[in-house]
Amino acid sequence: MSARIVTLAILLALASPARAERLITTLSTSRVLISSNFTGADVVLFGSVERDAQTVARRGVYDIVVTVTGPRETVVTYRKERVFGVWVNADSRTFVKAPSYLTVLANRTINDIADVNTLRRTQTGLARTLLPQEISGDIADSTRDDPFRQAFLRLKIERGLYREIQNGVTFLTPALYRAAIPIPDNAPTGLYEVDVKLFADGALLSRQQTALEIVKVGFEQFVASAAREHGLFYGLATALMALLTGWFASVVFRKD
C-alpha cells in the first residue's frame, strides 16, 4: 500500500516540472588554474529562471542562494588552556568531512528569504551548514552554540575560506541573475560543488547543481605532485639543489 503511495508521489513529482520554474546556470570558467602568480580569482556565475506558459503567476519576486562547497576534509579544532603557566592545546573536537571552502551568496538577507525551518531543512546559509563532529567514535552534528563549532566557523571566516555574502547575487532582469564567487589565494585544490537554489514566497522551487575545479598547473603542479608521490626523490633533489647552491656560492665568492 505504502509502496503505491510512494509511486504515486514520484509520478506527481515527475509531472510537476511542467508548471515549476527551471534554473539554468553557467560559470565563467569551470577550471581555476593555480600557477606561480596566483593571488586569488573570481568565478562569475550567470543564470536565468526559465518559465513556461503553465508556470503559475507569482506575487513575490525570486530569491537565489548560491552555495559553493570545496573539497571535504577532516579538521581538528583545538582549544588552548593554561597548564603550568604555559598555553597548550588541551581540548579538541574533530569535524568530520567539513567543507574546506564554503561560500554562500544570496540576493538579500538570507533570514528574509524563507522561514527558519525551510532554511534549516535545505541547509541554506553558513550558520545552518551541517558540521558533524566525531564524539567518542560516534558522528553527530554539533549544536549551533557549541564553542568549538563557533570557533571553527570564525577561524575559517578569518582565513577567507568561509563566507556569506548577503548581496552577492544580483538580478540583472527579474529572471536573469549574476554572482561572483570569490576564490581566495589559499583555496585548497580540488572539486568545488556549486549549488543554486531558487526560492519564491519562502518556498524552495528549484535547485540546480554544477561544479568547478581548482587545479595547480605547470611548475606548481609538478612540484606538489612530486612532493606527494615521489617524496624520496623529491627530497634527494631538494638536498642536491641545496648542495649545488652552497657549492656555487663558494666558487663565486672564492677569495683567492
Binding site: 579544532t77 603557566g85 592545546n89 570564525r154 611548475f219 638536498a239 641545496a242 648542495l243 663558494s250
Partner: protein, 308 residues
C-alpha cells in the same frame, strides 16, 4: 612580487623571503652558524605553518653549511675523522627526531613542542653565552690573560672507554660522548629545524676540548650532512619540504653569508659570542612570550591529512 608556494599553499612576497634569506645568511656567516634558529621562527611569523617551516629550513641550512664547509676544507680547518664519528650519532638522532616530529604532529602537539624547545634551549644557551663572553671581555679589560686550555685537566669524559685518536684535532678521547653529542644535535635539529651549530661548537670546545681552529669547520660538516639527510626524510615521510621556498631562502642565504663572514672578521671572539648570545636569548624570549601570554585566539584548526 608575489609567488605561490606549492607545498605551503600560500603566496608570499619573493623579495621579502629573499631579504630574510640575506639577513639570516649575513648572521650565519658572521657567527659561523647555520642560522636555522632564526629562519624557522621568521617563516612561522610570516604565516608558513611550523611543520613546513621546519622541514624547508633544513635544506636552507644544508646549503649555507656546505658553502661554509668547502671554505674550511680548503684551509684544512676541519677534522674529517671527528666529523665522521659525530655523523654516526647525528644520522641516528635525525631519524629519531623526524619520527618524533611525525608523532607529535599527529597528536596536535608539534607547535607546542617547537615553542617549548626553542624557549628552553635558546633561553639556556643564550644566557650561558652572554655570561661567559661578558666574563671574558671583563678579563681582557682587566689586563689578565684569557683562560687557556689546561693540558692536565681531567673530566669524567676522559675516563670513558673506546678511546680514539683524532690526528687533526690532536686529541685522544672516547667516541661515546662524541656519538652522544652527534645524536642530540641531530635529534633536536630535526624537530626544531635548526642545524645546531650554536650548540655543537661550545659542546665540542668545552666537553671534548677540540681546538677552536677546527671546531667550526667540523661542526659545519655535521650540520651539512644531518640537514641534507633531514631534508630527504622530511620529504619522504611528511611531504612538507617546499622546494620553491627553500630555493629562495638558499639563494639569499649563501649571498648574505659571504658578507657576514667579512663583517664577522672585524670583531673579537668574545664580542661575537656576546652578540650571538643576545640574539639567541632574544629569540628564546620571543617564544616565551607566545607561550606565557594569553593568546588572542584560544582556538586553532588543523586539517588532518587524508592518507592516500
Amino acid at each position: 612580487m608575489q609567488i605561490y608556494l606549492p607545498i605551503a599553499e600560500l603566496p608570499v612576497n619573493v623579495l621579502l623571503v629573499l631579504f630574510m634569506g640575506l639577513a639570516v645568511g649575513f648572521i650565519s656567516g658572521m657567527f659561523g652558524i647555520g642560522g636555522g634558529f632564526l629562519m624557522t621562527p621568521l617563516l612561522i611569523f610570516i604565516g608558513i605553518s611550523p611543520a613546513v617551516a621546519v622541514a624547508s629550513v633544513a635544506s636552507h641550512v644544508a646549503a649555507s653549511s656546505f658553502s661554509g664547509a668547502i671554505n674550511y676544507w680548503r684551509r684544512r680547518a676541519l677534522d674529517p675523522a671527528l666529523a665522521a664519528m659525530l655523523l654516526i650519532g647525528g644520522l641516528i638522532g635525525t631519524t629519531a627526531g623526524v619520527m618524533l616530529f611525525t608523532l607529535l604532529r599527529a597528536l596536535g602537539q608539534l607547535d607546542l613542542t617547537i615553542g617549548l624547545s626553542y624557549l628552553v634551549l635558546l633561553g639556556t644557551v643564550g644566557s650561558m653565552m652572554i655570561a661567559e663572553s661578558v666574563q671574558a671581555i671583563l678579563r681582557a679589560r682587566g689586563g689578565r690573560p684569557a683562560e687557556i686550555r689546561r693540558p692536565g685537566s681531567h673530566m669524567w669524559i676522559h675516563g670513558l672507554p673506546l678511546k680514539m685518536r683524532f690526528k687533526v684535532s690532536k686529541i685522544y678521547v672516547s667516541v661515546i660522548p662524541i656519538w652522544l653529542i652527534g645524536f642530540v644535535i641531530g635529534f633536536i635539529g630535526a624537530i626544531m629545524g635548526i642545524g645546531g651549530g650554536f650548540l655543537l661548537v661550545p659542546a665540542l670546545i668545552y666537553l671534548i676540548r677540540v681546538p677552536t681552529g677546527v671546531v667550526i669547520g667540523t661542526s659545519m660538516v655535521l650540520t651539512l650532512v644531518t640537514m641534507a639527510y633531514a631534508t630527504v626524510i622530511h620529504a619522504a615521510t611528511n611531504h612538507l619540504v617546499d622546494a620553491v621556498l627553500a630555493l629562495i631562502l638558499m639563494a639569499g642565504g649563501v649571498i648574505g653569508a659571504q658578507f657576514g663572514a667579512r663583517t664577522g672578521a672585524r670583531f673579537s671572539g668574545e664580542q661575537l659570542r656576546l652578540l650571538l648570545g643576545i640574539l639567541v636569548l632574544a629569540v628564546g624570549l620571543r617564544f616565551a612570550y607566545d607561550l606565557i601570554v594569553q593568546p588572542v585566539d584560544l582556538f586553532t584548526v588543523r586539517a588532518v591529512e587524508e592518507q592516500l
